[in-house]
């Protein structure tokens, strides 16, 4: 499918330009990002290093005690490959201290807490370095809602939020992300052996093909079925997109005045920049 094959030179040019322009126009030079050892944050690290110079990029790896040790090794490898600053801040003490009060908490609560713990560390370092926090969520997971609201979905700028996972793979290869990171199975790394595709119940390639036609090309359900997608798969994905839409919006404000923020008080974020 042509739409899922991207011109990686163009992407690189637009995305590095985006980081450079949007960071500098707010009057800062640096960025900070969480480096998990996975491909999405690796790609963002490469884009940021290319855009701002490696010395202006601070990567923080924030493992929990159950994280796969390979993840930290891969994060380190990525940081070395693009020459950026690298710090490890384990989140085990904070997360464990909290769940001592709630020992019965399930995996979802624990995973969300970890994602939000990492977010607070990134935004703290944003103040420490005078740096903007870069987001690392791709379009596939943003559309599916496969992320934690105010956790890994929180950032100041996201260079890859309009790239499907399929694009992330292509651009990572073009930009020289280490092959170990590109080739391994995507994982949220919340518990040992977890993989995204097993948890989601379909592969990224499958769902990218569908999302591209559903969202970007706006094919109807009938057209999608005619294109060979199973009706249950289409309906399942449509529901996921619909049910996670709240994660892609600002909190809803009850309107009482004539000018309510974001409804009839409308300004670009780059107002005055």
């Amino acid at each position: 499918m042509a739409g899922l094959i991207a011109n990686t030179d163009l992407l690189q040019q637009i995305l590095t330009g985006f980081v450079r322009d949007e960071v500098r126009k707010v009057g800062v030079k640096k960025v900070v990002l969480g480096l998990s050892g996975g491909i999405d944050s690796a790609l963002v690290a490469f884009i940021a290093a290319r855009a701002l110079g490696a010395e202006n990029v601070h990567a923080i790896c924030m493992p929990y005690k159950s994280s796969n040790p390979e993840s930290e090794a891969h994060a380190r490898l990525v940081a070395q490959a693009c020459g950026i600053n690298f710090t490890v801040v384990p989140i085990t003490p904070m997360v464990d201290a909290y769940f001592e009060m709630f020992p019965q908490a399930d995996n979802m609560r624990r995973g969300n807490k970890m994602a939000r713990e990492r977010m607070t560390i990134l935004f703290d370092h944003s103040a420490l370095y005078s740096a903007l926090v870069l987001g690392t969520s791709n379009k596939t997971e943003l559309l599916l809602g496969y992320g934690t609201l105010f956790g890994d979905m929180a950032s100041a700028l996201n260079p890859i939020g309009d790239l499907y996972k399929s694009h992330v793979w292509q651009l990572s290869e073009a930009m020289g992300v280490p092959s170990e990171v590109i080739e391994k199975k995507p994982s949220a790394d919340l518990w040992a052996g977890q993989t995204d595709e097993e948890e989601l119940g379909f592969s990224y390639r499958q769902v990218d093909e569908l999302l591209y036609r559903m969202v970007d090309l706006r094919l109807t359900r009938d057209e999608l079925i005619a294109a060979g997608f199973a009706p249950e798969f289409i309906d399942n994905i449509y529901r996921k997109v619909q049910n996670s839409h709240f994660k892609r919006r600002l909190p809803v404000i009850a309107k009482v005045s004539n000018r309510t923020i974001d409804r009839d008080f409308r300004y670009s974020r780059d107002w005055g920049k």
């Binding site: 094959i5 992407l11 637009i14 330009g17 985006f18 322009d21 949007e22 008080f265 780059d270 005055g272």
Partner: protein, 282 residues
Amino acid sequence: MDFTAVLAQIKPKLGCVTDNLALIEEHIQQAISAKADLIVFPELALTGYFLKDLVPEVARRLDSPEIKRLVELSRDISIAVGIVEETDDYRFFNSALYLEDGAIRHLHRKVYLPTYGLFDEQRYLARGERFRAFDTRFGRMGMLICEDMWHLSSSYILAMDGATSLLCLSSSPGRGVEGDSLGSADAWQQLTSTTAMFLNCRVLYCNRVGYEDGVNFWGGSEYIAPSGESVVRARLFEEDAVEASIAEGALRRERIFSPMLRDENLFVTMQELRRIERERGR
């Protein structure tokens, strides 16, 4: 008459009229030093593009100090520039000014305000209602603002009104990364080239660069000869200023080789358009 035109591919700051005026002046001074005859700026060069509720704040009356300053500068070079215009009855237009010899020679108000996809212009701006060619030191011209050019009738009307140069001031967002080159750049290059070729007109296309809220503006400003050939093209995505040497002879020769415009039958066109209008009104 032969003349040289500079396409000033600038990066305006969103909502910062003072800063943008300084940037525009800087480019004007450089073009004057380079002995250029005309300088073309992008759509909304004085204000930036995704203005939304900023429109009334950045709008300027034609007798405002900023516009007067630009008019003053046009004693030394002709200037085409995009602004938000405020009228006496408090309407706000996405306008393009053509300034020459210390006077406003022409004012074009954008007719086609896109309000689809990522665009929302008609929510904030009033719609212009005319396309008129106008006389300049360099022959008869017509001005278009970005989306105007995507309606064939706009360029057609200007050409029938005698324009030999079409100035298109643009703030075109870049999108489409599937092909060998940027989708919107491809589409625009086809459009400007085809328009020039069909109407035997020159096209001077000036597009801005920079990012606003993650949207990139792709630049690629260019001069297209009446043959449809792209003569000079500015860089993609980066600030630039390119100079085009425009030869009167090339226009004359093209209109001899391909006299489509001479043969255009205004009578048939009008007759059929009137019929269509009548039938639609039923």
